[in-house]
């Protein structure tokens, strides 16, 4: 009987796993010894990091999407039928259609989602770029903006930890190009006592903010937004006025994880090296879905996916464990409209970002197009 691998989720992590398994299990797929099924909720694949550029008119909406069927290896049985329950005791996934899928191995790649609704007033009073509708509205708001106070507000937890800084630097360049720099005051708020989670990045940011006159407030965890008074207030007791509020909303995991009672907040308790759900030997967890204390980012998902591909292929073909995940993360960081840098680290190596350069900005722009090769598992 064929071994059945079910991938729940059709984002970057799930797609890389599906494509990578097809490459490593070609013989088994051909002979019928293995079947791979993906359960997704859309026929479109969204390049999420491209949303950062949309408010500034640097990316067209059409450039953000590809057909998931074309991104995914044709040997993966792709079903647009979102999972509603994952029963890890009985190795069964139930979908919206009522159809059930029994599995030998399951890969949970259900991702994370923004939750501006968790903070009073945020949905009405703030803009964000973490989903398409929000990025469109932010683009319109920026077009109408003629100067005033901008607050860039960061909440925990959130994915893509460098995006808040990127949007701040890009906002500054955008306002300068529009001749609004001297009519605008940007204030950046951050939940912890420095400007970024990564200490070297935080240290690097201080003189950069000083250079551009960007103000900041640390230890700022949003309590509420008052859309009428146009103020934002923190749990720590600070209130800031704004004319334009750009927020990175708090995130949770997906509803199916909550509904299946697989982890508080929608984050699945996961062994940080094996990437197996705690207590399971056939439930892999990848990308934003894990509760591992590591960046929720496409890069993390990519390196985790590579590890899971090797282990799943090895388990299916040889019954052996292949290797552990070392915590590797690599992220480009846009430091304006024309410069960039990068940062990488793993569980044992601290990050040490280099000086920004135009060349690294070009690399990031190139990656924006090479992403589709990553998703296909070719890069």
């Amino acid at each position: 009987m064929a071994k059945h691998i079910v991938i729940v989720g059709g984002g970057l992590a799930g797609t890389i796993v599906g494509n990578g398994l097809c490459r490593q299990l070609g013989d088994e797929l051909r002979s019928g010894a293995v079947r791979i099924t993906m359960l997704g909720n859309s026929d479109k694949h969204l390049y999420q990091p491209g949303l950062l550029y949309l408010p500034f008119g640097k990316f067209r909406e059409s450039e953000l999407f590809r057909d998931q069927r074309k991104v995914l290896d044709r040997r993966v049985n792709f079903n647009i039928d979102a999972a509603t329950n994952i029963d890890v005791e009985n190795n069964r996934v139930t979908c919206e259609s009522g159809k059930t899928y029994d599995y030998d191995y399951v890969v949970l790649a259900t991702g994370s989602r923004i939750r501006p609704d968790q903070i009073p007033g945020m949905e009405e009073g703030a803009h964000w770029f973490y989903d398409l509708d929000g990025a469109r509205k932010m683009r319109d708001a920026l077009r109408d903006f003629e100067g005033g106070k901008i607050v860039v507000n960061v909440n925990a937890p959130h994915k893509c930890p460098v995006a808040p800084l990127e949007i701040t630097f890009m906002l500054y360049d955008y306002l300068r190009e529009r001749g609004l720099k001297d009519k605008t005051e940007i204030t950046y708020t951050y939940p912890i006592g420095r400007l970024h989670a990564l200490e070297p990045v935080a240290h690097w940011t201080v003189p950069e903010f000083d250079k551009y006159g960007i103000k900041s407030e640390t230890f700022f965890n949003t309590k509420e937004v008052d859309p009428k008074a146009k103020t934002i207030t923190s749990e720590e007791g600070s209130t800031l006025p704004y004319d334009l509020l750009v927020t990175i909303p708090p995130h949770t995991g997906s509803q199916v994880i909550l509904d299946s009672d697989l982890g508080a907040g929608g984050w699945v308790p996961t062994d940080k090296e094996k990437l197996l759900r705690e207590g399971s030997t056939n439930v892999f967890v990848v990308g934003d879905t894990t509760n591992i204390p590591i960046s929720k980012a496409g890069s993390t998902a990519h390196f985790e996916a590579d590890t899971i591909i090797d282990n799943l292929a090895s388990l299916v073909t040889e019954g052996q464990w292949a290797r552990n995940y070392d915590g590797k993360v690599f992220c480009f960081v846009e430091t304006g409209m024309s410069t960039g840098t990068y940062v990488w680290f793993n569980y044992n190596t601290p990050p040490n970002p280099g000086p920004p350069s135009q060349m690294l900005h070009w690399f990031k722009l190139a990656y924006n197009r090479l992403y589709w090769l990553s998703a296909r598992g070719l890069l």
């Binding site: 006592g193 989670a197 907040g265 960046s295």
Partner: protein
């Protein structure tokens, strides 16, 4: 009886122990506790500083081999 949740943030460079604590506090009830394990030398100072500022309660800090165990009670 207060529930205690453990966050093993040893070796977590990003988002780091304090950010993990802030996220974790959103998932527990008032009166429950979180025990953070951190190998970041700054946590034993940063976490109590934030906890005092925001109005939660420090239960204690214990120096263990290669890491600190920091326990916080959610107060509001």
């Amino acid at each position: 009886m207060a529930q205690r949740t453990k966050i093993d943030a040893r070796g977590a460079f990003c988002p780091g122990p304090l950010m993990e604590l802030i996220a974790g506090l959103k998932l527990i009830e008032v009166g429950d506790e979180i025990e953070v394990w951190s190998s970041d030398k700054g946590s034993a100072k940063d976490i109590p500083e934030w906890v005092a500022k925001v109005g939660h309660e420090m239960v204690g800090v214990e120096n263990c081999e290669g890491y600190d165990s920091i326990v916080i009670r959610k107060a509001k």
